[in-house]
């Protein structure tokens, strides 16, 4: 049964449909050690992983939420969530072999086979499992590994174990523990030394089930002097109940390597999006997070750079748009543990129609990290008086010779700008869209063309009817 409000939301969110898919495997709802065993059995995992999962579930049950995190305490009933649902048997390497119903879902989302031509590899996860995962022949020949995370564990057990949970252990935070207990799907990527994988590897995450928890796990290792661009997108149906998405993404950027990780998050406003993303940077490594948050009920996500080696460079470009029913708590984290590193955080947020956007950032320069430089810029655009924007920057500077710059601005769509654009015949709604798109342009221009177009489309949809 859908309410008129649900209908209204659907008209603005074209990804809000759900399909009746045959369920191949599912577990009863609720937080149970039996579910952990079931998942481990189905996946045929080694004992160490089974134990890791059980230990993580215990950690989750014990652990509280951090003091600085507002809300979320009584909002989610973890026993009403289903922790594993799969409408597919296993990931396919040929699109034709993906079950027809699921291919239809992806067709509706515009993630068609054709798009692969622009990509080095494509993965498509639906609920708990990857329906499709494949890499271009030319990249595979150069030794690039792009598999579902489960396959990664099977095919590269030693490499997998060396890095898995080393950047984000289950002790790190409550949602990392939850993911560690129930993780399923996500990607395993290895780029060999010196290989520049210049066409993006892309994965699309779809939630179809109701009151469901998606816990994909991604592990990316970019070996010395290599390059990789990984792009992810996501969406979910509009129900009247809530779902949970708690991903963990661990990235290791080895000496002189570079990694760019782009996210276009477009969950429906039923989804709690509580994600931990962290990159470890070795000597002179470069990490770039491009983090676009345009959907979800609540997002809690601060892509991080940990500088382990000298001379690394990290960037976070964060773009958040909080429309009605959304709270985007986004930002970035940079921890300097080695000398001569540089970092840049550039955050832009928009809030409208009672939406709320928060920038939360941590810059930490440890004593051993001398001569580091970091620049933080956060700009907020508030569209109306019902909407809200906050900035919570934390700086802990212990290293000598650190240069830290922080600039923040809050603005409204000004009457003068509107009058100016309208005096050229442009309708008010289009004028607001123009101003908003101009505001985010410095981040959007960093995106690949298709994603820039998608972001502009989503922003324009959110602007529809947002001004009186």
């Amino acid at each position: 049964m859908s309410t008129p409000v649900t209908e209204l939301l659907r008209s603005h969110y074209k990804e809000g449909f759900h399909d009746d898919l045959p369920i191949v495997r599912a577990v009863p709802k609720g937080l149970k050690h039996e579910v952990v065993d079931y998942i481990s059995d189905v996946k045929g995992e080694p004992d160490w992983m089974r134990e890791f999962r059980h230990r993580s579930l215990d950690l989750f049950l014990k652990q509280g939420l951090p003091d600085w995190l507002p809300g979320l305490r009584d909002e989610i009933d973890y026993n009403e969530i289903t922790y594993y649902v799969s409408p597919v048997e296993k990931p396919q390497r040929r699109w034709e072999d993906v079950p027809e119903e699921i291919r239809r879902t992806y067709d509706k989302l515009g993630i068609a086979k054709e798009e692969q031509k622009l990509l080095g590899g494509l993965g498509a996860q639906i609920d708990s499992e990857m329906a499709y995962h494949n890499i271009q022949e030319s990249l595979a020949k150069r030794g690039v590994v792009f598999l579902s995370c489960d396959e990664g564990l099977k095919q590269y057990p030693d490499l997998f174990r060396e890095y898995f949970s080393k950047a984000i252990p289950p002790e790190d935070n409550k949602f990392a523990a939850l993911n560690s207990a129930f993780w399923s799907g996500g990607s395993f990527v290895y780029i060999p030394k010196g290989v520049k994988c210049d066409i993006p590897l892309s994965v699309y995450f779809r939630i179809n089930a109701e009151q469901f928890g998606q816990f994909e796990r991604t592990l990316i290792i970019v070996d010395e002097d290599a390059f990789c661009h990984y792009v992810e997108g996501c969406s979910a149906p509009i129900y009247t109940t809530n779902s949970l998405h708690a991903a963990v993404v661990e990235i290791f950027v080895k000496n002189r390597a570079r990694c760019r990780y782009t996210t276009i998050q477009n969950w429906s406003t039923d989804v709690y999006n509580l994600v931990t993303k962290r990159a470890m940077l070795y000597e002179r490594a470069v990490m770039e997070w491009v983090d676009g948050n345009l959907g979800s009920k609540r997002t809690v996500k601060y892509p991080s750079c940990y500088f382990l080696g000298e001379g690394g460079h990290g960037e976070v470009l964060s773009l958040a748009s909080a429309d009605r029913g959304m709270w985007q708590d986004a930002g970035a984290k940079m921890v300097f543990m080695a000398p001569n590193c540089t970092g840049r955080i550039n955050s832009k947020s928009i809030s409208g129609r009672t939406g709320r956007a928060s920038y939360r950032g941590l810059v930490q320069v440890r004593p051993e990290a001398t001569n580091c430089r970091v620049q933080v810029n956060c700009d907020a655009l508030i569209l109306d008086e019902q909407s809200r924007s906050d900035t919570y920057p934390v700086m802990e500077i212990k290293g000598d010779l650190a240069t830290v710059e922080h600039e923040a601005s809050v603005s409204n769509v000004s009457e003068e700008q509107l009058f100016y654009l309208m005096s050229r015949g442009i309708k008010k709604e289009d004028a607001v869209s123009m101003i908003v798109n101009g505001f985010i342009e410095p981040i959007v221009k960093e995106l690949p063309m298709e994603f820039a177009v998608e972001i502009n489309r989503l922003i324009n949809l959110q602007m529809e009817g947002s001004v009186g």
Partner: protein
């Protein structure tokens, strides 16, 4: 008489303070009129009211274009129907490229999606006239523009939109002589039977390059004197004092 731009007994207030107190003015198509006046006489209020700035309230009178009252039309509709204002202080719109903005504006004015090639050909031609190179339109709208560049950008918009009636609000202020000549050249280019232009200015200087058909003097919210181009020259020589005195007496 229908092909005119007409202001009738116009009273305008800003935050309940009366600024315009009964302005009457008719600009027929094909003519250029100049509106001069000392600071604070209400020149910019008139310009902003013509385009329907929400801060200005019309308390009495009417503004008519081709016989139709425009007061009920929103700002964007006035523009689409052929009104144009060259701003005294054009505002900056970060992240919006001049080319994208102009295309949106031209499409709005035309009421249809214009052919892209055609649009760019016209744009190139107009830019040449204003001595602009191709980098100009890739810049963000007025962001980081010098005062002179902003004014030239206004004229570029005017040439692209081909309005039926244009108001130029102190376009000459802050321009050096070379920029003034470029701007005047642009306006003279557009001048003709299909457009009426109202030039608002404090100084007579711009009128040496754009010959007006009539000159009006605004003092304290009313037009106190109208005449031909010689009136502007007289003002330049004698200042506004004599006219203020004449009005008071």
């Amino acid at each position: 008489m229908t092909d005119t731009f007409e202001i009738r007994d116009l009273h305008v207030s800003v935050e309940d303070k009366p600024i315009l107190k009964g302005v009457n003015l008719v600009v027929p198509k094909g003519q250029v009129h100049a509106l001069m006046g000392p600071n604070g006489s209400g020149k910019s209020t008139l310009a902003n009211t013509i385009l329907g700035h929400p801060k200005y309230t019309v308390t009495r009178g009417d503004i008519r274009m081709k016989g139709e009252s425009i007061l009920e039309w929103d700002t964007d509709e006035r523009a689409r129907r052929g009104l144009f204002l060259a701003f005294q202080y054009p505002c900056e719109v970060p992240g919006v490229r001049v080319s994208n903005f102009l295309r949106m504006a031209c499409n709005a004015r035309a009421g249809r999606e214009l052919d892209v090639m055609e649009f760019y050909e016209k744009l190139e031609e107009k830019m040449k006239k204003l001595d602009m190179d191709e980098r100009w339109v890739k810049r963000y709208l007025n962001e980081g523009f010098s005062g002179g560049e902003k004014k030239r950008n206004e004229i570029l918009q005017m040439l692209m939109l081909e309005p039926e009636f244009a108001v130029m609000d102190e376009t000459d202020s802050g321009l050096d002589i070379d920029a003034l000549k470029i701007v005047a050249h642009g306006v003279n280019e557009l001048r003709g039977p299909n457009i009426g232009i109202l030039i608002i200015t404090h100084y007579e200087r711009i009128l040496r390059y754009i010959q007006p058909d009539a000159v009006h003097i605004l003092v304290d919210g009313r037009i106190v004197k109208s005449g031909d181009a010689d009136l502007a020259t007289h003002l330049e020589q004698h200042g506004y004092d004599w006219i203020t005195k004449e009005v008071v007496a």
